[in-house]
Amino acid sequence: MFWPAPASFRAQATIIAAASLAVVGLAGFIVYRAIRTTEGALVADSRQLCISACNELREQYEERIKEGDLLQMPPEAQDLSLTGISQTVLRTFEGVDGGIYLPKQDYVMGYAAPPRPAGPRPRPRGPRWEFIRSLAERAMSSSEIVTGERPYDTTYLVAAAVRSKSGEAVIWTMRRTLVARDPLMEEGRWWLAALVFSSVLGVFGIVSIWHMLRSGVEGVQRGLHRLEDDFTHRIPTMRGDFGLIAMAINRMAERRMALEEELRRQDRLAALGKVVSGVAHEVRNPLNSMKLKLQLLERRLTKGIPASDEIQEALREIDRLDMIVSRLLAFGRPAILNRQVQALQPLVEQAIRMVQEPAHKKDVRFETREMEDSLEVDVDGPQIVQVLINLFLNAIDASSPSGLVRVGAERSNGCVRVAVSDQGSGIAEEVKPHIFDAYYTTKPNGSGLGLAVSREIVANHGGRLELETSPAGTSFFLMLPIDRSRPL
């Protein structure tokens, strides 16, 4: 290719249609030129030549009549004089013959014809004579010059006639136009007509194909766009190859839906397994501790030693079990939001206050960027505070001693975006995909529910929780919609 082909199907189809129309136009032009240069032009030229010759012949005839003696002569002498006029006039008009028709006598006088190799042309008779006679009859009833043409053998006869001033004669001229009915030209015209017909047929076919392709491509495009949003949508049935494509796409969609369902089922099983193992792990520790305390209590009671400490320890472990079960229930229970529009900054400040103790222990400082007073969010305040606390605790854990956690907020694309960035060593690539999974944790004492719960809360608010991580640190982005009716 010497130039870049247009990528869009519509542009390609338009170019093909334009090229086809150009072919038809060209064929039409060729036919027009062929007809124009053969029949039309030649007949027109002959007609003009006959008119000019007829006018000139009439003028000279009238001049001769003025001399007075012509009409009193015997016919033979008249014929000779008039032939002298016709010969002289018509020799300057190539291929034109003519004479003076006398309607009363039904006779032609002064006939002159151009010289030809086969000898002198005979006076008109048969169809030529009938043609001249009919034209002369028209001329007798008209004050203007009249013209006519008719096929004759392999030629066209073109003639002009005009009545003399006195009305006793009709001056006529005639020319045979050879090319128009030439058999080769006739054959050529048939070929040209076939060319035009096939061109029109071709264009019709191309337009039909173009229309079919266009509707097919548009149908598939529409179906694919719908499928992006709604995988239950199916492309309507179509005829031909596009129907097969649509069926294939529909089959793919169905298979994908089945696969996704299978994946979801496996995810659910995997998640359940994680939860079960997490719960088992969480529950086993206090149970072991309680078992040890109860065994110790039994020995002490046997020996009569007071054992209030062991009882207190066992009760704390029971409380811990209760807390684990409560958090587990909270994670599984559908959240009930009590949303109201409120300023973001107090929520951030409250969360920071709640994590002051662990931060102080690790000497981690919080740096809060200045927030706009008008930065308001439509949220359930305590739940968002819980999310922020989780994010801050993670940031403190990730930070090195005397580290810095930056907190900022801004309005962006219909949402409020809160960024929490630490200066830790980042999150490993293999950990990153599971960071929001329930009971997944890399901390020795972590429950594995913090980020999972946080993401659940944010999702319930119509927002998103995202992260960016690098060896220089990790940033969590809490994005909350400004308008609750337009979730992110």
């Binding site: 007075g68 003696d69 009193q72 002569m73 015997p74 033979e76 002498a77 002298g84 006029i85």
Partner: protein
């Protein structure tokens, strides 16, 4: 004032060429009305009158000094035609045509002589002269055809003189000698007309029967 004098002279000159006995064809046609060629008009007496008239005019032309090559040719041809008219086998139609042809030749001779005398320049006649020469040109072109069908031995010379006179007329026109141009052009036309009449005379057209 000068052109008035010239016009009078020209009228007198033309009048001298057509004597008052009304034997010239145009006058006869006007009188007879319907059939100018009517052979019944050429009775033996009128034929004799016609021959005498032509002989008289011929004598006048021949006596002109320094006739020039065209006039010598025309006078010779006129003499031959008069002789043919006298032959007994010439019927009335042929006599009529030959009379007209001879008359045309002698009038052409007269025009040539007048043209030689007239060399004045007259711008006023330019347009008329142009139209007249246009008509003459067409007659000159016809001469070739009539020469071909006339069967005359001197046909080529007729055509040659016709063309030559027309060329002289064109030269006079270019020199603004419009009266001279008209006369020379008329002479060329008259020779062509003579050829036409001679050609018609060659046709075998029997005289209509005389109804008594």
């Amino acid at each position: 004032m000068i052109w008035v004098v010239k016009a009078v002279v020209a009228v007198l000159a033309l009048a001298s060429a057509f004597p008052g006995n009304a034997m010239q064809p145009e006058a006869r046609h006007g009188q007879r009305g319907q059939r100018g060629y009517d052979s019944r008009d050429w009775t033996e007496g009128r034929k004799q009158e016609g021959l005498e008239f032509l002989a008289k005019v011929y004598d006048q032309r021949v006596k002109q000094p320094e006739p020039g090559p065209e006039n010598i040719f025309l006078h010779l041809r006129a003499s031959e035609l008069i002789d043919r008219m006298k032959q007994p086998q010439a019927n009335n139609f042929q006599f009529d045509r030959l009379f007209r042809a001879t008359d045309s030749l002698l009038r052409a001779s007269e025009r040539i002589m007048q043209a030689r005398k007239n060399g004045s320049i007259d711008d006023d006649e330019r347009r008329d002269a142009a139209l007249f020469l246009q008509r003459c040109y067409f007659r000159v072109q016809q001469a070739e055809y009539f020469a071909g069908v006339s069967g005359e031995k001197e046909a080529k010379q007729y055509v040659s003189h016709t063309r030559g006179l027309y060329q002289q007329a064109r030269s006079a026109y270019d020199a603004h000698q419009y009266s001279k141009a008209r006369m020379l052009g008329d002479a060329s036309s008259l020779i062509a007309a003579a050829l036409e009449n001679i050609a018609q005379a060659s046709l075998r057209i029997p005289d209509p029967p005389i109804i008594k």
